[in-house]
């Protein structure tokens, strides 16, 4: 059976199966969720290992460097009258995200064992959410792409709304509403763009769309719309404020998925749809993105410095790190874009680890304020050690995947030579800022004297409790020491994209040089095509 179909079907089937399990059979519910996500993880790992040797099912732009292979393809008719097919396939970029999602959901299911409230509904929503996420990463049909995109957002609303928590810093209802409204607004914006693409090409087939040559004016009109729609999810400054608040009130596993995967949906959409379909517009607009992402990096970091709530610190830090992802994309260089996708992976794992650890002690302390904590290393050496490791990874310590990817992004930004290297320099300074807030969090929460009331906090002791944390740390270290397999795989998906953007830039230059007198010519052919249909 097709592995991608399995990746989709297994969590979907598990979601359905959970409906028929008695709500009190908590063990059974947890087992089903664990086995299902574990199976998906195994499939994802096998796909990752076999990716290089797998045959291409479809190839877009079958010429030279921009040839773009989609592997593990699967296709079946859905609504033939509308030309709707259920079509799955991944390139290296997509598979990196599938692997990331599989790792995080497996860890997320395991760290959620301590949830006792409405266990059944919780796991149903979690699995539905992850089905949607997988769907976005593997769909090659615009309709299903959007369908799954929305499917990923809705369960989030309930998960935070029901299982979340209100703290001194953030009101749960407010955070939930804001998150859903902003995400939906972004999604609707993207939808408008996707519909315009569909009406222009006349097909939902994303492989066909990728080959379609959109006119420059069409690209210039619709790139910003689609881009902003996805950028709200990244989250790009200044559309980011839903994200830290959402983290702060979400339960641990939801925060993990939210920061680990959901944010990546936005960046993935930018790459897969906006940049890939509109390379000429990307070449024009992306340099301005580089300016905005500096705000992400520096501003996000500065706001993180002034937070005292651990989840808000990590929330703003995520927004800051996603700035590096955007910087890598904006650099439009091969190494920078590869670094960006690699960083999406690395940051996902790292931030999931951090949120899982915060969730671990929050369940016991019911506070995340740095002023209330301290000295927890004494009672939680395991959690503390891993928190230091995760913070170091986040601060860009070599040996972790984050370092390799962030440095690739910085190298790419330097190579791109945009804006007098100021964004690259700010990105390097961002590493210093990251150090400031993370080391402060580490020191205030884990070092120093332990307050009397935390004497009885419990560390992770059993194998099942420790496993998800160890697994995530292991992945960070594995790809930190040996990044090449991931980079090679990502390159398979990113290289055609960079080639196309380069071609787009060349076309733009030519257009300026030759077509100066007939400036209106390309503007006319967009409506003309529309009328023909």
């Amino acid at each position: 059976m097709n592995p991608l179909l399995l990746v989709m079907l297994v969590p979907a089937a598990a979601t359905l199966a959970l409906f028929f399990i008695d709500a009190d059979a908590k063990r059974a519910i947890r087992s089903v969720a664990t086995v299902a996500t574990g199976l998906v993880l195994v499939i994802a790992i096998f796909m990752f290992i076999g990716f290089d040797s797998a045959d291409a099912t479809w190839t877009a732009n079958a010429d030279g460097d921009s040839a773009h292979d989609y592997k593990y393809g699967f296709e079946t008719e859905w609504v033939p009258q509308m030309g709707l097919n259920f079509r799955l396939g991944v390139d290296g970029m997509g598979l990196a995200m599938v692997l990331l999602t599989a790792l995080i959901i497996f860890a997320g299911v395991m760290v959620s064992y301590n949830i006792e409230k409405r266990v059944k509904e919780y796991y149903i929503l979690l699995l539905a959410l992850v089905t949607g996420v997988f769907g976005v990463f593997v769909s090659l049909d615009l309709f299903f792409y959007y369908f799954f995109y929305e499917l990923a957002v809705i369960p989030m609303f309930l998960l935070i709304g029901v299982w979340g928590s209100t703290t001194k810093t953030v009101d749960q209802n407010y955070a939930t509403m804001k998150l859903v409204l902003l995400l939906t607004a972004g999604a609707v914006m993207a939808l408008v763009g996707l519909i315009s693409i569909w009406s222009e090409v006349g097909s939902f087939n994303m492989v066909l769309i990728e080959q379609h040559e959109f006119s420059k004016s069409f690209q210039m009109t619709w790139f910003p719309v689609i881009f902003l729609g996805f950028a709200a999810l990244v989250p790009m400054w200044p559309l980011h404020s839903w994200s830290p608040a959402g983290h702060a009130s979400a339960p641990a596993a939801v925060s993990m998925l939210h920061a680990g995967v959901l944010m990546k949906l936005g960046a993935f959409g930018i790459l897969r749809v906006a940049c890939s379909y509109f390379p000429q517009a990307a070449a024009e607009y992306l340099p301005y993105l580089v300016v905005l992402c500096c705000m992400n990096i520096v501003y996000g970091g500065l706001v993180a410095i002034s937070q005292r709530d651990m989840k808000l610190i990590i929330g703003y830090s995520s927004s800051s790190h996603m700035g590096y992802v955007l910087l890598g994309i904006g650099s439009m260089t091969l190494i920078g874009m590869e670094g960006a996708v690699f960083l999406m992976f690395a940051h996902g794992i790292m931030t999931a680890l951090t949120f899982a650890l915060i969730g671990w002690f929050y369940d016991q302390t019911h506070t995340r304020m740095l002023d209330d904590l301290g000295g927890m290393m004494k009672v939680m050496p395991f959690a503390g050690t891993l928190f230091i490791i995760a913070s170091m990874a986040s601060a860009g310590l070599p040996g972790f995947a984050n370092f390799a990817s962030e440095l690739m992004v910085i190298i790419g930004a330097w190579e791109s030579n945009l804006w007098l290297l100021i964004p690259a320099i700010l990105a390097i300074w961002g590493l210093v800022i990251t150090g400031v807030y993370l080391l402060r969090a580490v020191k205030d929460a884990w070092f120093g004297e332990l307050p009397e009331r935390w004497k009885d906090l419990r560390d992770q002791r059993t194998f099942a409790e420790r496993f998800p944390y160890v697994m995530l740390t292991g992945v960070l270290l594995l790809f930190g020491f040996w990044p090449q397999p991931m980079i090679t795989m990502v390159e398979q998906g990113v290289k055609p994209l960079v080639t196309r953007i380069d071609e787009g830039r060349e076309q733009n230059k030519k257009a300026v040089q030759i077509d100066v007198p007939s400036k209106d010519a390309p503007a006319n052919d967009a409506p003309a095509q529309g009328e023909e249909r």
Binding site: S241, S306, G375, G396, I487
Partner: protein, 686 residues
Amino acid sequence: MDLGLMPVLASGGDIITEGFASWAAWIILFAPLLVAFLVACVPAIRKNVNLAAGLAIASVALGLVLTLFVYFFPTLGHHNQIYELIVPWVSVDGSVAIAFGTRMDALSITMTLVVTGVGLAIFVYALGYMKGDPSMGRFFGKFALFVFSMLGIVVSPNFFQTFIFWELVGASSYLLIGYYWKKDSAGQAAKKAFMTNRVGDFGFLMGILMIWAAVGALTNDTISQGVTSLMAAHSAFDFRVIEQAIGEVHFTGLFEGGVAAAAIAAALVFCGAMGKSAQFPLHVWLPDAMEGPTPVSALMHAATMVAAGIYMVIRCNFLFYGAEWAPTLICWIGGITAFIAASMAITQNDIKKVLAYSTLSQLGYMTMALGAGAYTGAMFHLTTHAFFKALLFLCAGSVIHGCHHEQDMTKMGGLRAKMPSTYKTWIIGTIALTALAPIAGWWSKDEILGATLDTHQVWGSGFLLFIGIVVAAMTAFYMWRATYMTFAGSYRGDHPAHESPKVMTIPLWVLAIFSIFIGFLGIPEITAFGVKDANFMEWWLHHRHKGAAATMHNWLAVGATVIAWIGMLVARAIYRESEGKDPLPEKLGRIWTTWNRLYYIDDLYLWLVQVVQQGIARTAWFFERWILIQGVINNASQSVRVAGDRVRRVQTGRLGSYVTSFLLGAAVIGLLVLLQVGMSHAAGGK
């Protein structure tokens, strides 16, 4: 004849890429990491203190033995051999973007010997010093990790790998300084060390990228095939690639901005060294780092971390030689550091703090040598300093251990009789450091002063020479001050002091013996006695330029020695019978206060962090909280709600109003339709 102006070459000579010698360095490098990993992951090893310590010691000993027998002794015969094994680490688009590997040439062999040799003595010593600490296994694991990080810098063949291990040294030092994590001050010091280094790395990474971009842009049109193929194999970060490229096209062909850009790049790279080697103005972390256990101080502040910056500059000296104002900057920063640190040392009462500031001051000397272009001299002083400073730190540790964790010298005294081994070795170390007699520091310091006298590439070198001599006197003063306060007079502590166990004193004696003899590796040309060609250090590192030998400036050597003796005698007069009382604060008044407050630099930084940085962060948060979230987002949603309220009022439920609005709407639509029809008629009519 220029003294030491010939670059210490990273390349040239025979390159051996096969056989055991090519990859033995990988064993040297990774053995400590393996130990650290085992200690971290296998609880059985972590909890068995002796096993963990034994493994850590074995890994360092293995490194020392391998370096000696695979690299050092075989290379003595044909010393221009280079052993390397470099593999791609990250390849992008089929070409090597970042390479990883080891390169063992004379320079890295020397440094590996220093790190593993001094390291081994400290590891053994730590076995005694840390006895009774419940988490000693963890300590040795972190210790091994630290040695791994440092060795990575030493054997690194390229800038990127250097940066990787540069960061790792920063992180492992963070762990070691914060070892006593229950103490708030330890946590603060660890954070401060890490962040100060990060600031230095900010410049370092920019410098690396600047050079990488320039070298990577070179093509076959401008440079030879040899360089481009080397670049394809080892990436543009590689030291040999950069050196050969500079050799072929010079700074003018490498950078668009020519030599001026080269000076900026060199200065940025030097920023990294300023962080790690604790040069002014990034020196503030080093004294605080004394919060770690004493063996950690000995390891970090003698042979490893602080040496990394000096070593890195020597490694890529080709960037600095002739780079306009960069050497002047380096030399001045070295001179300033040497002076301010020496003056701070005079005012300290904590025995470890005295040594910490002394380390700073000696690093200043080394940096001065770097600026003056005396790379061999810097390396020589680094080597000798590693031995005698490790010795002094370990002696201090022995004293602290013997006095029941008392570090304040005013509460010591009279230890001469109580701790004879510690006393004797301390005296040897102090003589080596203060250059009273021709052992260790006497030779290397003299070479640096001579280089400062000879150099032509530094503006104001005469003044720096003067500073160097003044600092020599100050060094003698503060070291002998510490000696008399600690060992002379009568014991002033509360608990009875005792000599340390053998496991601690034996490493002391080993280091003491080295401190006596290590200086003879660098005997310069002394015309007065007809000594020539005795300079092993120079021959070993300068093998291709054997003609250029360091010459002793007789009057300078004599003068510096006399001045050091004066400093020592002044200290003797003041402190020999002072019984821990220090008359200096009254005599020097405001100057003493300034020195004791460290020139208010730490206060300034504290203000910068607490007021400026926090202020900016609070401003950002204010903007986020009140303008972005409250002002834009909440108001936007509020306006939607208000609009909804208004619209809701239309749904009145009264039939009359519905009919009215229906008719109104119908009329508007009808009008629009009419308009449309009319317009299309008009268009069609044309």
